[in-house]
């Protein structure tokens, strides 16, 4: 039976909002198609997904105009539960979708709701866990799993309901590169094998474009571009809305007509069309960092949660004033544990941590907070007030800053994160990216000497992520020492000078980041994915292109030079 999705002149405005989230959407997705939806934050992608599974209009209140149908059913007339048997939905944050106490219960939850007989439920659970490579996890607690495993668990839980349509709203946002690849391949495989429709919302296009049939680009509640991958890519970028992957743009700059999407394709096409010469006299742009005095020192730090389980193992390092350090490693490698030491939230089981000369064992956290600004991964855990102004003053009060300084400090901090117009706003009205920046600004009001940031780019679109790193870099240029946890190798390589890689609590690498890019085995062992440009640079290195090139502009120059020679 066909389960085409049809949108007929659909508009939707959330209750309490003035601007419509969707405007006049006309869309039809035939059964079995794999569709990618992309677009900047707030462009209506999630709203569109919620229309397909009936959360709009049944759960989210607002004004819906037009008709949405899935197969023969009009979403207005069917309950969410009814549609759930047809449309399986996976949201961004896996943890928020896990509702039971064991993986098996989680996977069985959907079929149980559908009234499937017990024998078949057990079969489906087994199948779903096998398909998602989660066999053996039946009795594990979902919340103790790593991000990638949690995502796999949510997908298994949807798969076990045997839906006709899969709708995945940013399923990769919280995963490390290896987890991303696994999950992506998994869902595409499931959809292709069983001929199901798959709708994926995603920001970063590099990995997913080669796998989909059709791309929709959304902006301000409208579909601004719709077509096959090749059509959409050929139509070029839309500023602030849609930026094609670097490889595609590079191919364009050297006038390759075919559309290579992977670095190796570009390399091949390049050799097909041109006879590239060799580059001469290329100087590798290296950032020099004069050694200054150390502000953070870890001496043989070991930390164990319980006896015998080490989260950190004999880690020694020192970070100097003015450095920009990227802390990397796969999910669960001890990154957050390490930075928690720097402000005394955790004391080392063995060894010593010194921050600007204070032993963290002897100095309480709230005093260390004078020197170390700490930004957490989830801004919701950090925000303590209902509106922005109060939020900004809270830290100042806690640190006994004289009241006459408040105004100027708040202004400065908001200016840095480009949120000066939001001083009067309510926290509830802010989006996740905005909350993240407010959380950063509230830390900046205290003018910390050291800034520690845990995953500032989770769930942000690429432009926003870039923007946040630019802000951090600006602070670093003004003298703040920065230690930043990130999965994003590209951003780390563009902005940081030094990289520290943790592997199961051990220090796996500590040195200049552009040298890390050359250490292929080390990167692979730690689930770090080279940016596409660097992959290409590696292949072109025999021709004289520096193998650790990261910047788009540099690569463009090299390529153009190669072609002209």
């Amino acid at each position: 039976m066909a389960h085409d999705i049809n949108f007929d002149q659909v508009s939707f405005t959330y209750a309490g909002s003035e601007t419509p989230a969707l405007r006049g959407i006309n869309l039809s997705i035939p059964t079995g198609e794999i569709v990618l939806i992309t677009g900047p934050a707030g462009s209506g992608k999630t709203t569109l997904c919620s229309c397909i599974n009936g959360l709009i209009p049944h759960y989210h209140e607002g004004e819906l105009a037009g008709e949405v149908t899935v197969g023969p059913y009009n979403t207005r007339k069917v309950r969410v539960g009814g549609l759930a048997s047809l449309v399986g939905m996976v949201f961004q944050d896996p943890e928020s979708q896990l509702v039971t106490n064991s993986v098996a219960d989680e996977v069985a939850f959907g079929p149980e709701n559908l009234g499937i007989p017990r024998g078949e439920i057990n079969q489906r659970v087994e199948q779903a866990l096998k398909a998602t490579r989660m066999t053996g996890y039946e009795e594990r607690e979902p919340h103790s799993l790593s991000g990638g495993e949690q995502q796999a668990c949510v997908i298994a839980a949807t798969y076990s309901m045997h839906p006709e349509v899969y709708v995945l709203d940013e399923p990769l946002a919280n995963l490390d590169p290896q987890g991303r690849k696994q999950v992506l391949e998994l869902v595409v495989k499931i959809a292709k094998e069983r001929g199901k429709t798959l709708v994926v919302v995603e920001h970063s296009l590099e990995e997913i474009l080669p796998l989909v049939d059709r791309v929709l680009v959304m902006d301000k509640g409208q579909i601004v571009r719709d077509g096959s991958v090749a059509e959409v890519l050929k139509a070029g970028d839309i500023k602030g809305v849609f930026r094609r992957p670097d490889v595609v743009r590079l191919a364009e700059s050297i006038r390759l007509e075919s559309l290579p999407m992977k670095p190796e394709d570009l390399y091949r096409e390049l050799h097909k069309k041109y006879k590239p010469g060799k580059l001469k006299n290329v100087v590798n742009q290296e950032r020099k960092n004069g050694q200054k005095k150390p502000v953070i020192q870890l001496e043989n730090v070991t930390y164990c949660y319980q006896e015998g389980v080490n989260a950190l193992f004999d880690v020694s390092l020192s970070i100097h004033e003015g450095e920009f350090v990227a802390l990397m490693g796969r999910n669960g490698s001890g990154k957050t544990t390490l930075v928690s030491h720097l402000i005394g939230l955790i004391q080392p089981s063995q060894g010593k941590v010194t921050v600007v000369g204070y032993d963290t064992r002897e100095t309480p956290t709230h005093e260390l907070a004078h020197y170390v600004g700490f930004c957490f991964q989830n801004p919701n855990h950090q925000i303590v007030s209902f509106n922005v102004r109060e939020e900004m003053t809270f830290g100042l009060k806690a640190h006994n800053i004289p009241a006459e300084e408040y105004e100027s400090r708040i202004q400065d901090a908001l200016e840095i994160v480009n949120m000066q117009d939001f001083l009067g706003a309510e926290i509830f009205d802010l989006g996740k990216g905005q909350k993240q920046r407010i959380a950063l600004a509230s830390v900046l009001t205290l003018k910390p000497r050291i800034l520690v940031i845990d995953e500032p780019t989770t769930g942000q679109d690429p432009e926003m992520a870039h923007e946040i790193f630019k802000i951090i870099k600006k602070l670093n240029d003004e003298g703040t020492t920065v230690l930043c946890i990130t999965h994003n190798v590209e951003l780390a390589a563009l902005f940081a000078t030094r990289a520290i890689v943790l592997n199961r609590g051990h220090l796996a690498y500590d040195g200049p980041i552009n040298e890390l890019l050359l250490a292929e085995d080390l990167m692979k062992a730690n689930s770090l994915e080279l940016p596409d440009i660097t992959k290409l640079a590696k292949q072109l290195s025999p021709l004289g292109v520096p193998a650790n090139t990261v910047k788009f502009a540099h690569m463009k120059n090299y390529l153009e030079a190669l072609v002209e020679v």
Binding site: Y59, G82, V99, T100, T365, F394
Partner: protein
């Protein structure tokens, strides 16, 4: 400290959640009808032995130790102020003023009460330590299964026996009962009443919680852990922003607490929205009356044995009480003294 489910493979763990619930009810009822230090002691020790087999002895002890002082105080009250009219006087606690008489009955019952508290607490501990909360909620949820008529009859009969035994004193004395004076008729009326009450109770109990409520309970249990983890993260975030979260000043302490409440409030709100979206998207309101369950809960041989023991225990307690023998030790000591 929280009583949390401990994984294990002991006898207690192997029992059905409903059996353990019945064990708790049975132990409590028995402890209420009998006031005897030796019988109570025996019951307590057998429960305790079951407990040490099921969970870590140290943990069990440390949990119980906290309560000793509180329960001893209660028992002291019993010793000091429980003085029935004809109780056997021993001595005054404050002799020169002739204040606070201590009696044999007071002492004996004091010890019995001490054990009584512990029996109730221990049986709750046993149930919670060895039963995952989700299982507890699911077993008492209506699941649309058909019961065999033999099962129903057995349950009604057992309940009727208990009701009948407990209400026997009403028919045993001289006065008229429901206008009847003939003892045979009186007992017949009582038996009929017990049967009707038992049948009604069975209907109510066998129904169980409505599935919405049962599932809400299970989802709630699954959320507790996450919320406590979130609270920890929030506290950390605040410390990191320079709040002294344990200030000496009391007013400051209240301020700190309110600062903690806002993000917890936000987190909880968000979590409940997440859950409702997640369960709706997975078909929660598909047709909840016809919902099926992956887990199957059946009684095994051990369950029936345990339920039998509980039944006999309650029946024994009630009978002893009816015969005026609910405190044999007390009677024995009194007979020695006289």
């Amino acid at each position: 400290m929280a009583i949390e489910y401990q994984k294990g493979k002991s006898f207690m763990h192997s029992l059905d959640a409903r059996t353990k619930l019945l064990m708790f009810i049975g132990a409590t009822v028995t402890a209420m009808v009998i006031i005897d230090p030796i019988l109570m002691g025996i019951l307590f020790i057998s429960l305790y032995l079951l407990g040490t087999k099921a969970v870590d002895k140290k943990m069990l002890n440390s949990n119980l130790r906290v309560l000793v002082v509180i329960f001893l105080t209660f028992s002291m009250f019993q010793v000091l102020f429980f003085t029935p009219k004809d109780s056997h006087f021993l001595f005054y606690l404050i002799p020169w003023k002739q204040w606070v008489p201590v009696t044999i009955q007071g002492l004996v019952r004091g010890v019995a009460v001490f054990f009584r508290f512990f029996i109730v607490v221990l049986s709750v501990h046993l149930m919670l330590y060895t039963t995952p909360p989700v299982e507890l909620a699911l077993t008492i949820t209506e699941r649309g299964q058909q019961r065999k008529s033999l099962e129903v009859a057995g349950m009604v009969l057992a309940l009727a026996t208990l009701f009948f035994t407990s209400s026997m004193p009403m028919a045993m004395n001289e006065s008229a009962f429901l206008g009847l004076t003939n003892p045979v008729l009186k007992f017949a009326a009582l038996a009929a009443g017990s049967l009707i009450a038992a049948a009604l109770t069975q209907k109510v109990l066998a129904r169980g919680l409505p599935p919405e409520m049962g599932l809400a309970l299970t989802l709630g249990f699954a959320t507790v852990g996450i919320l406590s983890k979130q609270t920890q993260q929030i506290t950390n975030a605040q410390k990191a922003r320079g709040y002294d979260i344990q200030p000496k000043n009391l007013i400051k302490r209240v301020q700190v607490l309110t600062a903690l409440l806002i993000p917890i409030f936000l987190a909880t709100l968000e979590r409940s929205q997440d859950i409702s979206i997640a369960i709706l998207s997975r078909g929660f309101d598909y047709n909840i009356g016809a919902r099926t369950y992956r887990r199957e809960f059946t009684f095994h041989r051990d369950d029936f044995i345990v339920i039998g023991v509980i039944f006999v225990l309650i029946l024994l307690g009630l009978t002893l009480k009816n015969l005026g023998l609910s405190s044999p030790t007390e009677n024995f000591i009194l007979s020695l003294v006289q």
